[in-house]
């Protein structure tokens, strides 16, 4: 109950592996793609996997699952090489065109059983967590979810997987006992993006999944991309522009929407603004609203009261614009401007618009 003990901590004991499990070698990274596009977390994981593989003196492999007609699959393997993989396991199958739990679990499990890696890493995305949980249970091995730090124990070659718990107020390091592979999912944007080595080569090991569509129970009827929906998706947004009472009057909230439109961002709001009816309740960020974790959070006219802070403090980059130099938001923002948000927002909108236009032009020229 209220005073129960924290997670039991056992003294680190030496893990002695069965002979059978000693045969498990190599570090694998599952290369996640959704509709052909590689998720950045997979590239981050290749960077991290490289370090682990080097520490162990083993190879780093990418794992790509693809439909038979998927032309991009080999390209994905090549991208994995350029980000540090030595080889890629490319599994093709009729049933692997779209992500579905059943065939993907079957595919990845087969690969693991065939090639026996000691470590298997996946991104802690909706796909990665869905897949990892099923694969780990099928293999009956240990899985540490949502890691923020990975390391190798020099004593026993085991994976030390560190993850936040209790809403981030604690960290714990988890080890896998006499089971292999050691599986972990890793949060996106926690590990640094490794440098790309264009032209770096590796070998592709092809594998075929013998599974027919008739064996797959779940069918994909449709995929509705977020761009096509007008519902706010704050928890999943990469960029959020949020406004607070410092904007002065409801009309000025439009300045927040303008900047968001240019950036393709979601619009967020502080509690007082929502209470005052300037923004819809499902845009409220904070204690009684949404918790968000975007790459960029621009807070305009938000003081940063603790209620708001708990909802957005984990953003990768927080920009605060506030006329009060003592506003608490400056204590935890990354960049701050003391000034009138109603003047700075339009200027920022213009600056971003010009820059994005420039970038688009540059892209056209190279194409």
């Amino acid at each position: 109950m209220s005073d129960d003990a924290p997670a039991p901590v056992r003294k680190k004991r030496k893990v002695v592996l069965d002979e059978r499990l000693k045969a498990y070698r190599g570090v694998w990274v599952y290369i996640e793609h959704e509709r052909g596009r590689v998720h950045p977390v997979s590239l981050e994981l290749l960077g991290e996997g490289r370090k682990l593989a080097d520490a162990l003196g083993v190879e780093l492999a990418g794992v790509v699952l693809a439909g038979r007609a998927d032309d991009g699959a080999t390209q994905r393997c090549r991208l994995a090489f350029e980000y540090g993989a030595d080889l890629c396991y490319l599994m093709r199958g009729d049933v692997l065109a779209d992500y579905r739990n059943q065939p993907y679990t079957r595919g990845l499990t087969e690969l693991v059983e065939a090639y026996r890696p000691e470590i298997l890493l996946l991104g802690a995305t909706t796909l990665g967590r869905d897949l990892a949980g099923s694969v780990a249970t099928t293999l009956e091995t240990g899985l540490t979810a949502d890691c923020t730090e990975l390391a190798i124990d020099p004593e026993d070659r085991g994976l030390l997987a560190t993850r936040p718990t209790f809403g981030g107020s604690l960290l714990c390091t988890i080890v896998t006992l006499n089971y292999r592979p050691q599986m972990a999912t890793v949060r996106p944007r926690v590990m640094p993006m490794p440098a790309r080595a264009p032209g770096r080569e590796g070998r592709i090991v092809e594998h075929d999944l013998q599974m027919r569509e008739a064996d797959v129970v779940t069918k994909v009827l449709d995929f509705i991309a977020d761009d096509a929906r007008d519902k706010p998706q704050l928890p999943f947004a990469d960029i959020i522009v949020a406004g607070g009472r410092g904007l002065g009057k409801p009309e000025n909230f439009q300045l927040v929407r303008d900047l968001a439109a240019v950036l393709g961002a979601e619009v967020g709001a502080s509690r007082p603004v929502v209470q005052a009816g300037w923004a819809e309740p499902d845009r409220q960020v904070g204690q009684s609203g949404k918790t968000v974790r975007p790459k960029l959070y621009i807070a305009a006219g938000i003081s940063g009261a603790i209620q708001h802070r708990v909802g957005m403090a984990d953003a990768d980059c927080i920009v605060a614009i506030n006329s009060d130099p003592n506003a608490p938001i400056f204590d935890f923002a990354h960049f701050g401007i003391v000034g009138d948000a109603t003047a700075i927002l339009p200027a920022l909108t213009e600056a971003f618009r010009a820059r994005l236009r420039g970038a688009a032009r540059a892209a056209e020229e190279t194409a």
Partner: protein, 96 residues
Amino acid sequence: MSAVKVEEKLFQNRYLVDAERPHIRIRTPSVCEKQCETQPCVVCCPAACYSREGRKVSLITDGCLECGACRIVCDVHRNLDWEYPRGGYGIQYKFG
């Protein structure tokens, strides 16, 4: 208005907010603005639920401690509809 950040205090508390169902309402806002000279709710509320902008009084009940002071001090105009929150909502004291 004051250097004391009551919000930081309230943040320590546990609330189950009944979203979009405030349990206290100002009956006629113009009475606060035009007829109530002292606006004692603004000073007396221990959770700073009442705030003043100019002469206008606005009420946000999220941080309410359900003490009842605002209702009792509104003794001249009786301008509050004051109820307890629905069962299980509102402040939930951890220590009390």
